[in-house]
Symmetry: C2
Subunit: 333 residues, 2 copies
């Protein structure tokens, strides 16, 4: 009994043909005479032969694997990206090599460089500064960046954070709110744009935006930031949070502190995570289409691998999702 898995040579011997023939058969590269085909099929079946993808990759130079580097799989924003990317990948017979860098700045670059060596292309989500991403162009593999980079000419797909911020501010304004605050996450590459969008909108109405910072893009950070925002001076009537997780944590804590939502405070987030809908009050947010971002990024990469000309940057449209966490400002008693 053979201990080792059968190789192409075993099949060739068993079928009485050359290895080249077996190779061509496995790849459906051409047609065969009936007897040869029959023997081939028989031998392969008999031996339980499966071609070794590694050996194949070494020659063809393609692994049919796409590297996907994200910051935290537990953040629904990234979860959706993975979902979308996986779906498209599967459909095109690619597999995902996933790396969750756990928001660890140091490990990010070496991890991705190693990743790039084992795949046909990479999709990267990063918190690096724009000017610190030049190394990505030296990966010698097609790269698609999640989030636009104005400085490097790396193909990318992003959502319009500026517009999203603007929309949220506009919505709050429409509801009659005047004292609007922003609870951000400064380490994010999108934080500034979201602020700019909201700020611009408020400026047009002659109002200012009061900016606070959470220290992580998480429910815990939102919870932690609540008291200083709500119990300090200038308590806002409405709050735009950097993302839904922060908003959810913040709301929970605000309720605990005795505030009524949305009567005492309207709250919004970004991302439209699946659970915002199940919070009470259900969270108003802006859908950044993260799943579609994953799909789009994967599609772009696959196109690039197929030699199609680069489509440059793709920007997805944000979509406001109004639920119960924002409400018309109550009249003064």
């Amino acid at each position: 009994m053979k201990r080792t898995t059968p190789t192409i040579r075993d099949v060739a011997a068993a079928a009485g043909v050359s290895v080249a023939t077996v190779s061509k058969y496995m790849n459906g590269a051409q047609r065969f005479s009936a007897p040869v085909e029959a023997r081939l099929k028989e031998a392969i079946e008999q031996l339980g032969y499966r071609s070794n993808p590694l050996a194949r990759s070494m020659i063809t130079g393609e692994t049919r694997t796409i590297g996907l580097a994200i910051l935290d799989i537990r953040n629904p924003y990234f979860t959706n990206i993975v979902k979308g990317a996986n779906r498209i990948a599967l459909r095109h017979d690619y597999t995902l090599l996933l790396v969750d860098t756990e928001e660890n700045q140091e490990r990010e670059q070496p991890l991705i460089e190693a990743l790039a060596q084992r795949v046909d292309g990479v999709i990267i989500s990063s918190r690096m500064q724009e000017d610190a991403m030049e190394w990505m162009t030296k990966l010698n593999k097609p790269v698609v960046l999640l989030g636009r980079n104005e400085q490097c000419p790396i193909p990318s797909v992003s959502n319009d954070s500026y517009l999203a911020g603007y929309m949220l501010a506009r919505h709050l304004l429409n509801q009659g709110h005047r004292r609007i605050a922003y609870l951000g996450f400064a380490a994010s590459r999108w934080d500034a744009e979201r602020i700019r969008g909201a700020h611009t909108c408020l400026s047009e109405a002659g109002l200012k935006l009061d900016v606070h910072d959470a220290h992580a893009p998480s429910t815990l950070a939102g919870k932690a930031a609540c008291s200083s925002v709500m119990l300090g001076p200038d308590r806002p009537e409405a709050l735009i949070c950097y993302n839904d997780l922060i908003a959810l944590g913040f709301m929970k804590e605000a309720l605990t502190l005795g505030f009524r939502l949305p009567q005492d405070l309207s709250v919004t987030g970004f991302d439209n995570v699946p659970y915002g809908e199940y919070a009470v009050p259900a969270l108003t947010t802006v859908d950044l289409q993260s799943e579609k971002m994953g799909e789009t990024a994967m599609l772009k990469l696959i196109d690039a691998l197929a030699g199609k000309p680069d489509a440059g940057h793709v920007t997805l449209e944000p979509r406001l999702v109004v639920r119960e966490s924002t409400a018309r400002r109550e009249e003064a008693p």
Copy 2:
């Protein structure tokens, strides 16, 4: 200018040594004379040489990649498993090849078989029947199964679903509830055990368990199942849902239907997903330690790859997490 990436031979030539020397240097396999080491370092730096992991893998037979097959990355239970597995993998210099089978029974086996060929070992989560999993033993790669299989001798890690179900029923009983129902997901391999646990507990108290079924392990399915459970005959005083997602969807809908929670109904789930805490009322659940399952599975696999003897099956302890969605039964008016 070279178009092609430098190979070990280029380095050997540039440093005036043999390829074997370069290979040993790259793998830190031994010490070198100062001049050789200097030339090596210089040449590698100069050429920007990086060893090709594919070629290496083909010879050593190890890819330092672990395949992870899950059913739906969007389900927090699986998200946590990926998180845990990724953490341990990174720590041991392994990378995850992820496949989200999207609850697609047909694709599952072929997908995993293809996956197994490209990795050193696989961690599998499946909805297959126990007796339909024999093919996994023929993968010729170490396998760790998520969820125990009594029939096949596949190493596995799981949580004690029976005990978890029992705990929940006990908790509800303690709160004075008598009419307790279960809203399950029959396609799951754990559904029956959870029912058995709850059923056993209730039987001891001379009570019966009213079993309903949701059609997916999702919030939507929970929402959909709500009216038939709540507006039909024998409305329960307490409900144990197959998982937190179903519970969350159910609660939201119950609220919409005008029920008060937890006064009119106590609700529980399984998994302790991150958002149960932020729902109102916050969800009582049982923590199945999914992240630890991912870690443990990965650790087992790495041990197996290191040739350590198989530790067999590992069962993690469930932990009851009581929050506001369950409350003492109100006295009859």
